[in-house]
Amino acid sequence: MDLDLTGGELKTRSAPNDASQILCISKYELLNYVKSRRFAMLFLLTLGACIGATCVVGYFRPSGVLTDPASFYGHWLAYMLVFIVALPAIFLGGDAISSEFQNKTGYSLVGNPIKRSSIFAGKLIAALIASMATLSLFEVVMLANASFYFGSGAFLYSTFWVSFLYATFAVAGAVGLAFFFSSIFKNGAYSILFSAFLLLFGFTLLDNVITRLTNLEPWFMLDYGAQIVENVFRSPYPAHVQTFGTHIFYTASVPEGLVIMAAYFIVGIFVSLIVFQRREFA
């Protein structure tokens, strides 16, 4: 039964294009990060780890580490890379999607003239930028240490920049994985827990178990692919397969490592985007 009431001419204002809206979401998501305690804690943890490593190397002056820039970077990354790649992904991506449902922040966003895919893309870009900022802090401290011990040559050492590029792939892969978990869990605590477990311990554990028990190449493990970030400093680059007695050890080649990390990013983001577009705010 319709009623015929008059009045109320329709006023229209066009919403901006998708790209502008994505940038808008990124901008305010980043602002939210910067003003949040969580991001401050992430930055302090990263800074603390870097200062700790600086003090240890400065005090003990391990000869194996201070041989040359390549050895220095390789060792520094070997001890800290997992930590540096995992932390921003856990802190920023761990509940990126689940919190929109659990904390009801999505209710205030989705009812606007903006596609869900634009909200997702904006959040992803913000998480990547914030993660890269954390990675950059780590790399800057590493570079500063290297330049202290090896002079300006540390800056000119091109492999450092190649490794930095690979590290961004590793961070992107970790963020992709964290987004994946944050989309499949409705509870942010679970998604953060799963991301943290896998990125900090799980992959290393599974990697060892699978390789030792089955002698299979763990090509499906993010940390296996991320080895290239530190291996690129080794000369010559380690052989793909090395046998010690009955054990076989695999090393990811650079292309293989890049593909693995890219796959984690692409698959993780693709799945989480599909879930975010389809999940209901019920």
């Binding site: 009431l5 109320g8 329709l10 919403a15 949040s36």
Partner: protein, 321 residues
């Protein structure tokens, strides 16, 4: 396409497994007015509103806002809409100003106008002093006010409000009602769900009632009340009359009974009576004239606040039976 704000549901259904939340809802509302959306818990009110703003997906059917189907063209459908569903949260580290600036930008409010648009909206809800504080530090009521301000941004032609007074103290509830009343003058279509029947009767022009996901009624409040009276007899209406001094209800009853269409006269308290009658506006005029002529100090006469409640219970009761 219509130039008036419009909202339309066409065979809208939503099922969760074997549970049907919404069943073939057909509803068309057009023009500037305020429409109350009533129904018991689980009736499908929030489900309907969520479908209209893309929070959930209809199992079948279509939902149109200003002529645009929400799934097919969400941006166009919502670009002249303000939405408030289920007391949402805003990023806790952002201030209200920052959060509302974000929504303004998403809605396409030009940058030079954005600051004023935000401050105007916040001013309407009485939060201008708090606009630069973190959203996370607000009380529930303050958050709801900011959420209302967010819905008002950009001067939308349609407002979809899901229990907008939820979480507010009595003063806040009253203020929100006044805001909604003032918005009615601004050529907007306001579709507002509520549990508070008195609120709907006070604020709205029309009422939509649903239960078990089915449309029971869509009409003006006056017609809805007169069609379904408290005793179930159609075409009866209930009015409350107030006096400045204590009155003798028997005297009034005997006088009013002369009008013929009066079915009941009850005493509410010493200064108020309730009259149940039929006959529409003409009969109301006659009742008011007669009560005034008695010189008992008549100071108010209007539709009973319990009238809509009676209609509601009557309809819901019928549905349950």
């Amino acid at each position: 396409m219509s130039t008036k704000p419009s909202l339309e549901a066409v065979n809208l259904s939503k099922r969760y497994g074997s549970f049907t939340a919404l069943s073939d809802l057909n509803l068309k509302i057009e023009g500037s007015k305020c429409v109350g959306f009533l129904g018991p818990n689980g009736a499908g009110k929030t489900t309907t509103l969520k479908i209209f703003c893309d929070m959930i997906r209809a199992t079948s059917g279509s939902a149109y806002l200003n002529g645009f189907e929400i799934r097919e063209d969400k941006k166009r459908a919502l670009e002249s809409c303000g939405v408030l569903i289920e007391s949402p949260e805003i990023y806790p580290s952002l201030s209200a100003r920052e959060a509302l600036s974000m929504f303004s930008e998403i809605k396409g409010i030009p940058k030079p106008e954005r600051r004023k648009a935000v401050e105007d909206a916040v001013d309407i809800v009485g939060m201008i002093e708090w606009v630069d504080r973190r959203f996370g530090s607000y009380s529930k009521g303050m958050k709801q006010r900011i959420n209302i301000a967010a819905a008002l941004l950009g001067d939308p032609s349609i407002l979809l409000l899901d229990e907008p007074t939820s979480g507010l103290d009595p003063r806040g509830m009253n203020e929100v009602r006044e805001i909604v009343k003032s918005l009615k003058k601004e050529q907007k279509l306001i579709f507002m769900s509520s549990h508070l029947l008195s609120e709907v009767q006070d604020v709205c022009d029309e009422v939509v009632m649903i239960d078990h996901g089915k449309l029971l009624l869509h009409d003006t409040i006056e017609k809805a009340v007169s069609r379904f009276s408290a005793n179930g007899e159609e075409s009866n209406a209930v009015f409350d009359a107030g006096f400045s001094r204590p009155v003798d209800v028997e005297t009034i009853r005997s006088k009013l009974s002369q009008l013929g269409s009066i079915s009941r006269v009850e005493k509410i308290d010493q200064r108020r009576i309730r009259v149940t009658c039929s006959g529409g506006i003409k009969m109301q005029e006659e009742i008011v004239s007669l009560l005034a002529s008695l010189q008992m100090g008549l100071i108010s006469f209007g539709q009973s606040s319990s009238a809509l409640e009676s209609t509601y219970l009557n309809l819901i009761g019928r549905e349950v039976a």
